[in-house]
Each structure stands twice: as structure tokens, then as C-alpha cells.
Subunit: 200 residues, 2 copies
């Protein structure tokens, strides 16, 4: 009984997620998804695209990454997550290492998730062409030639790709990633105490 | 005309806000309010209660404060903001310096705002007794003897005190602070691109 109890509270096979943090990332989108996943006991690694140094986000919040992306580039995670923000998304688009990581995780059928302007980084690295996606409306025009674009969903999953729209949808984005990595029950237990808007 | 244009884009009298960041603060609540206010051109100072070192938040996100609280303790801000989180709120309750800052700002009739468990720090420092407040439901019992407690509002302002409930209400909390510091038009211009839930 004791060992069952321990394994239930410390699951041996915890799910893992990689959040790729670039200078200019939208800080609220970044932190919301980390927070939601960690509340659901997902092991989240926050990896600095440019190394281990503090990362200045789009509205000046400074986040310390857990590791340099380079140092976890050969690891496989259950989910790879790209926060939005104009400057951050540009760096995600331009990084060959991000492309390599996304393609490896596609091949292994892991979850790939992008929010806001970061959906453009999926396109830049030729991930999931033809699937249903959404994004911040300001970058819609760049995506409609490559994807089935959805305007009327706040977060959407097609195959192994999850996309969402902006800071106001970031908790829902985190929760959909969480329910896919764990279960609807875990999602509910995390969402409850967070005081979401009714219907969210 | 030019000088009007410049003063409109760089207002000489920018509003200022102090966010007091303690170890164990809820990172999503902290970052949401900073993000919203900076989108609205409020000058936000993120001050580390324990100094200038990186601050580990409740779900392991590490934030770098802009300054040590000690170094801005004699400054007056248009708003003083207390993020929630169990560990962070406890430190806010126990800090005599936080009490001094809150009382000074009360005396000068500045805005004082607390979210989630941080409403308990208002009580600990004897701020706004008898006013309508809300908080995370988990600390309601500690507050009903001192305040008119509101269960059915996500964010509430009474006199110069604004309080709110949790991570899911943090953007609305930031927006109500913003509209009080600036205007309803600024609030709308900030809220629009954030992709809030309809009705939020
Ligand atoms: Cu964004």
C-alpha cells in the first residue's frame, strides 16, 4: 500500500515538456503555460534559445531559463512548446536548432504547441502543413497559404499540433496541452483553483 | 504640433506602479499584471522584497526584479500591487517594510491592489478594514471578519483598494488597475489584442 501511495504521488513516468524561451517572448504566454503544466505535475524544462543567461521578454519581464537549449537539444520531450511575442517568434523562426528539434519531435509523434505569433515558426520550419491551426490575428495572413486557418477557436488541436491565439488564451492553451499529456481529470483539478472565466 | 505629438506619445506624467515580488509569488499573477500595465504605458517597477537577486516563484519560474524593494521604499507610486501565491503572500504579511509602504500609499490616497492570497497581506497590515474585497476562495475565512467579502466578483474596487481572485482573473485585475490609472480607452486598446474570453 505504501509503495502504491508513493508511486501515485510521484509517478515514475512523469510527462515532460520543453518550453523554448527566446529574447522577446511574450512573458504572459510563456509563464501561463509553464504554470499550468507544473500545476499538473508535468516536468517542464524552460530552455533559453540563446543560452542560460536571463531572457528579456517582450514587456521587459526578465526570466531565468532552467537550461540552455543547446544542452537539451538531443533529448526527447512529450511536448515542445513555443511561446509567442513578435521578437521571440522571429528568433524561433530563424533558429536552425529549433527546426531540428521540431522535426525530431514530429517524427516521434510528440506534441508540438505554438501560441500567438509563434505559429509562424511552425510554418518557417515546415511543421504540420495542411493542418488546422490558429494564431494571433495579426499574423493570420502569413499562415492561410500553408494551413487550414481557424478564426473561431481559442485553442485547437489537429493531429499532434496545438495552436492558440494570445495572452488571453494562454491558460486554455496550457490546459489543452495538459489534458493531452495527462487526462481530463487532471485538467479539471488544475483548472478549478485557477479561477477561470465561466465557460473558459 | 510636434511638441503635442511628442507629449502624447511620451507623456510627461506617466503613471507609475510598484509590484512587490517575494519568493513564492504566483508567477502568472505577477507577470499578467506587469504585462497589462506596461502595454498601457504605465511605468512598472518590479521590486524584490528580499533584494535584487532572482526570485523563485510558486511554480519554479525564476524572475529577475528590476530593483530591491529597499531601494525604492521612500518613493511614491500611483499604485502598489501585491501578487498572490501562498509563500509570497506569507512573506508580504510578515514584512514590516511592506506595511510601511502600504500605509504611506494609503495616506496619499494611491491605489493599492492585491490578488489571490495577497488580500491577507492587506489585513495583516491593517489596510482598508471594512471595505469590500475579494480573494482566492481558499483564504476567504481569514478575511470575512475584517472586510465585506465579495464571492461573486472577479475583481473589485472599493475606495482605493482593488482586489481579485487568482491566476484566471489576473488579466482582468491588471485591466482594472490600468483603467483606474489611465482611462477606459486605454484599457480597451490594451485588452483588444490580448484575445480575452468574450465577456472578460
Ligand atoms: Cu503574443
Amino acid at each position: 500500500f505504501l509503495s502504491f501511495f508513493l508511486s501515485a504521488t510521484h509517478p515514475a513516468m512523469a510527462k515532460t515538456a520543453l518550453v523554448i524561451l527566446a529574447t522577446g517572448a511574450e512573458e504572459l504566454e510563456t509563464v501561463a503555460v509553464i504554470d499550468v503544466l507544473r500545476r499538473g505535475e508535468v516536468e517542464v524544462t524552460v530552455a533559453g534559445l540563446e543560452g542560460r543567461d536571463p531572457v528579456k521578454c517582450s514587456r521587459g519581464v526578465v526570466l531565468l531559463p532552467d537550461v540552455a537549449l543547446q544542452d537539451v537539444a538531443t533529448k526527447l520531450f512529450h511536448a515542445v512548446i513555443l511561446p509567442g511575442g513578435g521578437g521571440g517568434s522571429k528568433r524561433l523562426r530563424e533558429s536552425a536548432l529549433v527546426g531540428d528539434i521540431l522535426r525530431t519531435h514530429m517524427k516521434e509523434d510528440m506534441l508540438i504547441a505554438a501560441i500567438c505569433a509563434a505559429t509562424t515558426a511552425l510554418k518557417a520550419h515546415q511543421i504540420g502543413q495542411g493542418l488546422q491551426v490558429t494564431s494571433h490575428p495579426s499574423v493570420k495572413q502569413e499562415l492561410t497559404d500553408t494551413y487550414k486557418y481557424s478564426d473561431d477557436t481559442r485553442v485547437i488541436k489537429d493531429a499532434n499540433i496545438i495552436t492558440s491565439r494570445g495572452p488571453g488564451t494562454a491558460i486554455e492553451f496550457g490546459l489543452l496541452i495538459l489534458s493531452n499529456l495527462t487526462s481530463g481529470e487532471v485538467r479539471s483539478s488544475v483548472a478549478g483553483p485557477m479561477m477561470l472565466f465561466p465557460g473558459q
